[in-house]
C-alpha cells in the first residue's frame, strides 16, 4: 500500500530496519573484520548503485500495479548500443544517450502495448525482453565490444570517488532523493499512486492513467540503462550478457523492501537494496562461491516476504473484522 508522505507509523518499521542493518553488519564484521574496511564499504556502495538504479524504475512499475520482466533484456540491448557507439569513437555522453534512447523505445513499446492496447504485462514484457535481448546480438553478431573503451572515459565513471567512496553511490542517493520528492511531494507522484491504487477512479478524477502507466515502463527501462552503464564502466567491455543479472536483485530490492517497510515505495526499495547488497557482499567476502548469490538473494527475499507479508496480511484480515463494526457503531453513537 503506497503511503502518503512519511507516515509516523512507519517510524517503528524504520527503526526495526535500522536495527536489522546494524545486526547484519555486526555479524559479518565479527566473522570477517574486513567487512568494515573503507575498501569494502566502497565496493558495497558501488554494487548498491547498479542494483538500486534498476530497482528504482521497477518500483514505479510495481506502484502502478504492473510487472516488468523485460528490463534485463533491454539493458543488454542498450549495453551493446552504447558499446557500438563507443567503438565508433563518439563522445561518451552521446553514446549513453543512444543507450537511453534505445531503452526508452523498448519501454515505450511496453507501455503502449500494455497501457493502451491492454496486453497482459507479464507475458508481454517477457516477450519484449526476449526480443530486445536478441536484438543485442545485431551489433556485432554477439562478439564482445571493447574498442575505444579505455579512451572513451567510461572507466572513469567506475573509478570516480567522492569523499573516498564511489561517486556512483552518491549519484544513486541523489536520484533516490529526487525520486522521493517526486513521488511524495508533487502532483505527478500523486497521479502515479492514484493510477496504481485504483485506475478507474483515477481516470474519473481526470488523471491520464494510460499515460502514467506508459511512463512507468519507460522510466523503468531508462533506469536499467543507468545501471548497465555502471556495469560497463566496471568491466570495460560490452557483451550481450551485460544486464542479464539485473533482474533478480531489482525484484529482491523492491519486494524485500516492501515487505519490511510495509508497502512499495522509493524508500522501501532503497532499504531493500541496501540489505540485499550488504548480504551479497558479506557472503562474497566470506568466500562463498559466486553461484550461491542468486540463491542467497532469493532465499532472503522469500523469507522476508513470508515473514512480513503473510503475517501482516493475516493480522490485517483479523483486524478488518474488528474494524468494521467499530467504525459504524461508534459513529452511530456520535
Amino acid at each position: 500500500m503506497p503511503k502518503h508522505g512519511i507516515v509516523p507509523a512507519g517510524t517503528v518499521r524504520f527503526l526495526a530496519f535500522a536495527a536489522l542493518v546494524f545486526i547484519i553488519g555486526a555479524a559479518f564484521t565479527a566473522v570477517e573484520p574486513r567487512f568494515l574496511s573503507t575498501q569494502n564499504i566502497s565496493a558495497v556502495t558501488r554494487h548498491m548503485a547498479a542494483n538500486g538504479l534498476a530497482a528504482l524504475g521497477l518500483t514505479l512499475v510495481v506502484i502502478v500495479r504492473k510487472f516488468d520482466l523485460s528490463f534485463a533484456g533491454t539493458a543488454c540491448f542498450s549495453a551493446m548500443t552504447i558499446g557500438f557507439m563507443i567503438a565508433g569513437g563518439h563522445d561518451l555522453w552521446l553514446c549513453i544517450m543512444a543507450g537511453v534512447l534505445a531503452a526508452a523505445i523498448v519501454g515505450a513499446f511496453n507501455g503502449i502495448a500494455i497501457s493502451y492496447f491492454g496486453l497482459p504485462d507479464i507475458v508481454t514484457t517477457i516477450a519484449t525482453g526476449s526480443i530486445a535481448g536478441g536484438l543485442a546480438f545485431l551489433y556485432s553478431q554477439g562478439r564482445t565490444i571493447f574498442r575505444n573503451f579505455v579512451t572513451s572515459g567510461i572507466l572513469d565513471l567506475n573509478d570516480a570517488r567522492l569523499f573516498g567512496y564511489s561517486a556512483s553511490f552518491f549519484f544513486l542517493i541523489a536520484l533516490y532523493a529526487v525520486a522521493w520528492v517526486f513521488m511524495h511531494r508533487t502532483r505527478y507522484g500523486a497521479s502515479f499512486h492514484a493510477t496504481g491504487e485504483n485506475p478507474v477512479s483515477a481516470y474519473f478524477s481526470g488523471v491520464p492513467t494510460r499515460t502514467y502507466t506508459m511512463m512507468a515502463f519507460i522510466i523503468c527501462a531508462i533506469t536499467s540503462v543507468f545501471a548497465v552503464v555502471l556495469i560497463l564502466a566496471e568491466s570495460g567491455t560490452a557483451d550481450t550478457n551485460k544486464g542479464a543479472t539485473l533482474l533478480m536483485p531489482a525484484y529482491a530490492g523492491v519486494f524485500l523492501g516492501a515487505a519490511l517497510l510495509g508497502g512499495t515505495s522509493v524508500l522501501a526499495t532503497l532499504a531493500g537494496t541496501l540489505l540485499i547488497t550488504m548480504l551479497l557482499d558479506g557472503f562474497s567476502l566470506l568466500g562463498v562461491p559466486y553461484y550461491y548469490s542468486d540463491g542467497v538473494v532469493s532465499a532472503i527475499l522469500l523469507t522476508g516476504v513470508v515473514l512480513f507479508d503473510a503475517r501482516v496480511r493475516q493480522l490485517f484480515s483479523d483486524l478488518a473484522s474488528f474494524i468494521q463494526p467499530v467504525t459504524s457503531a461508534s459513529e452511530k453513537r456520535s
Binding site: 546480438f137 550461491y292 540463491g295
Partner: protein, 334 residues
C-alpha cells in the same frame, strides 16, 4: 485472482462472430502446418526420418517439462521457476551418478527434488497467498543456485546413460519411444482436463477463486497439487535431459524458459482461447520444435530465432485479445 492472459484493460469486450471464433481457435494448427510446409519446401531434409525423430524427441522433452505448467497458468497463476527446477533435477541426478549411485536412485531423487520445490511453491502461493511471480522468481533462484553448487559452478559428466539413455534414443521408425510416452501422458491429462471435475475446477479457479471456495471446493489443495505436479514434471524432464546429454548442466533450463512459456501461452490461444490447455500446449511445442529445426537448417542464428519467438509470443497474445472470449477480469495482482 490472477489471470496471466487477461488484464483489466479499458477495452470493450467484442462479441466474436462465428468465423472469428474459428480463426481464433485453430489458427495455431494452421500456422504449424504452414510452417512445416515452408521449411520443408526450403529444406526437404526437414522431413528425413532422423530429423523428424529429433524434432519429436525434443518436443517430447519440452512437452513433459511444461505439462504441469500448462495447468498452473490455466488456473490463473504463473510459475517462472520451472526451468530452474528442471536444472536442479538434472544436476541432482548427475551428481548422484557421479557419486556412485545407480540410475534408479539418482532418477528418483532427481524427481523428488522437483516435488519438494513444487511443494515449496505451492505452500507459499496456495496456502499463504503470496503473489506467485515473486515466489517463483525466488524459488527459481534458489533451485538454480543449488544446481550450480552441486557442480561447483560447472557441469558434471555422466559416464553411462543407462537404461534411460537407451530408451531415449530408441525409435520406432521416425517416432521416438519417448514421444509416444509423452503423448500417452498428454492423453491422460487431456481426459482429466476435459472430462473430470479436475480440469473444470482449474478453469473456474482462474475466473473466480472466491466462487470456487464458496462452492465448497478445496481450491487451495487443488492449487497446491498443481504446483507440486508442475515441479515433478519439470524435474522428470531434467532427469531425462541428463540421460539424453550424458551430463548435468546447471544452465540447462535457460533456453527452455521462453520456449516453455511461449508454448503454454500460444497453446492457450487455441481451442479454449485465453485458457492454456494440454492440446494447445502440444501443438505449440511442435510448432516451436519445427521452428528451431527448420530455422537451424535454413541458417538462422540463435539470436534471430530468439527474436522470432518473442515476436510470436507477442503476436499470439495480441490475437487472443482480438478474437478471444474476453471476460472482464478483476483488478490484477500477480
Amino acid at each position: 485472482m490472477t489471470d496471466v492472459i487477461s488484464t483489466h484493460a479499458v477495452a470493450e469486450r467484442r462479441h466474436s462472430k462465428a468465423i472469428n471464433r474459428i480463426i481464433g481457435r485453430y489458427w495455431l494448427v494452421a500456422t504449424l502446418l504452414v510452417m512445416i510446409a515452408v521449411f520443408a519446401f526450403l529444406k526437404p531434409q526437414l522431413l528425413d526420418n532422423s530429423n523428424i525423430a529429433t524434432i519429436l524427441r525434443s518436443s517430447a522433452l519440452m512437452a513433459i517439462m511444461i505439462l504441469g505448467l500448462t495447468w498452473v497458468i490455466a488456473a490463473g497463476k504463473i510459475d517462472v521457476s520451472f526451468m530452474q527446477i528442471a536444472a536442479l533435477g538434472n544436476m541432482t541426478t548427475a551428481w548422484l551418478l557421479a557419486s556412485g549411485s545407480g540410475w534408479a536412485l539418482a532418477a528418483t531423487c532427481g524427481v523428488a527434488v522437483g516435488a519438494v520445490a513444487g511443494l515449496l511453491n505451492g505452500t507459499l502461493i496456495a496456502i499463504l497467498g503470496i503473489p506467485p511471480l515473486i515466489v517463483t522468481i525466488a524459488t527459481g533462484g534458489i533451485c538454480a543456485s543449488i544446481a550450480a553448487a552441486l557442480g561447483k559452478g560447472t557441469s558434471i559428466r555422466i559416464a553411462d546413460a543407462g537404461l534411460l539413455g537407451d530408451l531415449l534414443f530408441t525409435n520406432w521408425g521416425p517416432v521416438p519411444v519417448i514421444a509416444v510416452i509423452a503423448a500417452l501422458f498428454y492423453l491422460i491429462s487431456w481426459y482429466a482436463q476435459e472430462k473430470l471435475t479436475f480440469g473444470h475446477y482449474i478453469f473456474a479457479l482462474a475466473q473466480n477463486e472466491k466462487a470456487v471456495n464458496e462452492a465448497g471446493i478445496a481450491a487451495r489443495s487443488l492449487l497446491l497439487f498443481l504446483f507440486v505436479f508442475s515441479g515433478i514434471c519439470s524435474a522428470i524432464a531434467g532427469v531425462l535431459l541428463a540421460a539424453s546429454l550424458s551430463s548435468g548442466q546447471p544452465m540447462i533450463g535457460s533456453s527452455y524458459f521462453i520456449d516453455g512459456l511461449t508454448a503454454v501461452l500460444l497453446g492457450g490461444l487455441m481451442l479454449r482461447i485465453g485458457k492454456p490447455n494440454v492440446l494447445g500446449t502440444t501443438t505449440a511445442v511442435l510448432l516451436l520444435s519445427v521452428l528451431v529445426s527448420g530455422s537451424a537448417m535454413v541458417g538462422w542464428a540463435d539470436y534471430q530465432r530468439q527474436i522470432v519467438k518473442g515476436v510470436l509470443l507477442l503476436v499470439g497474445v495480441a490475437v487472443a485479445m482480438q478474437f478471444g472470449h474476453r471476460s472482464s477480469s478483476p483488478i490484477q495482482g500477480a
